[in-house]
Symmetry: C2
Subunit: 394 residues, 2 copies
Amino acid sequence: MIVQKYKDMLQGKSVIRQLSEFATARGQKIGYENVFDFSLGNPSVPVPQEFTDVMIKMLQERDPMELHGYSQSLGIPSVRDKVAASLNKRFGMNYTGNHIFMTTGAAGAIAHAVRCVAQPGDEVLTFAPYFPEYAPYINLTGAVLKVVPADTENFQINFEAFEEMLTEKVAAVLINTPNNPSGTVYSSSTLAKLAGMMEEKQRQYGHDIFLISDEPYREIVFEGVDAPYPSAFYDNSLSCYSFSKSLSLPGERIGYVAVNPKCTDAELISVMCSQISRGTGHNCPPSIIQLAVAEVLDLTSDLSVYEKNMNILYKELTDLGFACVRPGGTFYMFPKSPEQDAVAFSEKAKKYDLILVPSDSFGLKGYFRIAYCIDTEKVERSLEAFRKFVKENY
Amino acid sequence: MIVQKYKDMLQGKSVIRQLSEFATARGQKIGYENVFDFSLGNPSVPVPQEFTDVMIKMLQERDPMELHGYSQSLGIPSVRDKVAASLNKRFGMNYTGNHIFMTTGAAGAIAHAVRCVAQPGDEVLTFAPYFPEYAPYINLTGAVLKVVPADTENFQINFEAFEEMLTEKVAAVLINTPNNPSGTVYSSSTLAKLAGMMEEKQRQYGHDIFLISDEPYREIVFEGVDAPYPSAFYDNSLSCYSFSKSLSLPGERIGYVAVNPKCTDAELISVMCSQISRGTGHNCPPSIIQLAVAEVLDLTSDLSVYEKNMNILYKELTDLGFACVRPGGTFYMFPKSPEQDAVAFSEKAKKYDLILVPSDSFGLKGYFRIAYCIDTEKVERSLEAFRKFVKENY
């Protein structure tokens, strides 16, 4: 019998997807170069040439039986060792390969991390504004996502609301820094206070509360911004990573869970993840992609375009009177809508071929997201459209 | 809180894995070439050169942004179209790209297929002898795997037992032909009778009962054996495929679900699968692997070695007095153990450096599995060990 739950999900269409489809359709009419499509978080710079070279070299030189043979479901041991060594070097951690579980991107990483530490019925907290996919990611595990209201002052953490919601039912707290959609990076003092509060509640309730840290934008941090490593602040932490943004490889779906060596059952969690995989049908990522990223772990695409675009847009929008927390990283910004109804605002913007995502689906009303992972030339051309839009409407 | 269910699973160690580890350890002592390791189903012939050439060409020539960019979670449309066309041509089906959902191998395919058609608590039937991973694959969805006793005469279907177990609670029936571990291929008359019985029960119970057909060995069929396509026999059918065996790509984890165009909600199932993916963290397989297999859909590795090995082993073992249903495909055979206790038999075989998997974990006692996906030269050298083993023990 067809399972109704998944059939019902087909009704709810993503706002981002709808806007992206609108942009594509509009582009077919007026030329896509004339649509200022700020809807999608798709990297706009190529993978480093070294990745391509490593892939070709392996295909040309390695024994195909060995290259394409079955790999361990936790990931290839040499790859896990290299990921651990790279994290240790960069963030002063003490991971070994045993703490790394290779995944098909951050979605795969979160799916495993949550199932490891939250039973069906348990609550998982996250903070507004948040990536809308967290709702299906968490709720389809059987756990229940609860959203802590935003700190609209600077998109750090609303600790008062957090403390109230951090009840005995909470099994895990899911953070995302640098953040989609706000572009904010959690400061050391935010992470220290978060960790302190969670530790206190762990003691009080007598059970573990895990920090699940979703970090696909970890490498996209702007000049002068301190981007501390969340797992360094809290023992019971699982770091979820994707190479999609740092290496511009979103279609190759490669990431990992890094299990804090100081967490409860630290040595068991990656092997537990491989048990979870048997049920979710998650296989470890393809051998060749694992082996290739392991050779370019300390490289990134040329990410400078994102900061350049942010500076241009931030200046123009604040000059035009938009209130906006200055992004510390990612390729998003999240200004306040000049009218209460961000959906109406986004509708009006479409008339100027500005494709802006209203904030409602991010768990906060009255803002909009700009994904500025597009060519700088186009960002510059969009400024006139922003000016006209504001002048004629607000 | 660490979830105990997955922690508990760490206790149960796979017999196949244990034997494979024993073989590796023994190989370190006496040279692996002297261990007749028939434990693992890992292909022993390389991927076709065309696959490697296509991968290199894409990496050299295509725009990396386009090649590695985000793909649709159902799979790349052109790839889905090609898979549909290939199945239509070979099996006289009427799939369109909309009926194909790309997965990370057969495990991913089954995980999605089961979640589409079975609610937690529903029963899923399979037939002994069966691939032991079906237990976690099914049971971790919340559905309950029930095993129909074997037809030990010829490893087709024990219809009497099947009819008794095909109660109103059954949401799906999971088959695997050509079969791991028996090597048997279901005949047209078996599939027709299976379909007829399921249709009758659908009418009687007034609800759909889906056929989930796991077909990773579809292309490994021996001379003179008719291997009918299961979905051609039954409308409510989902075909689950992996390229692991046909293209010797097990580490690259690529496969699909093909939804019978005549099944209930045929147009919805692939999009339902992409909803399921949001919860399981299954992303579609990597773009580059999807695009590469789409170019070699009608090729296979040189699979002739498996038939050659089967003929050598089948002759020798039946000459030695083993009772064995002659395999019609795969790279497995499943002879009867000369003593009731197959575990004891397998233990004794180890003394002759013969690594044979006892049948108990396949849902049937008193048999053993030989995975003859190894070099023919080694198969030939193993015959003397088999002779000595039998002579000295039985």
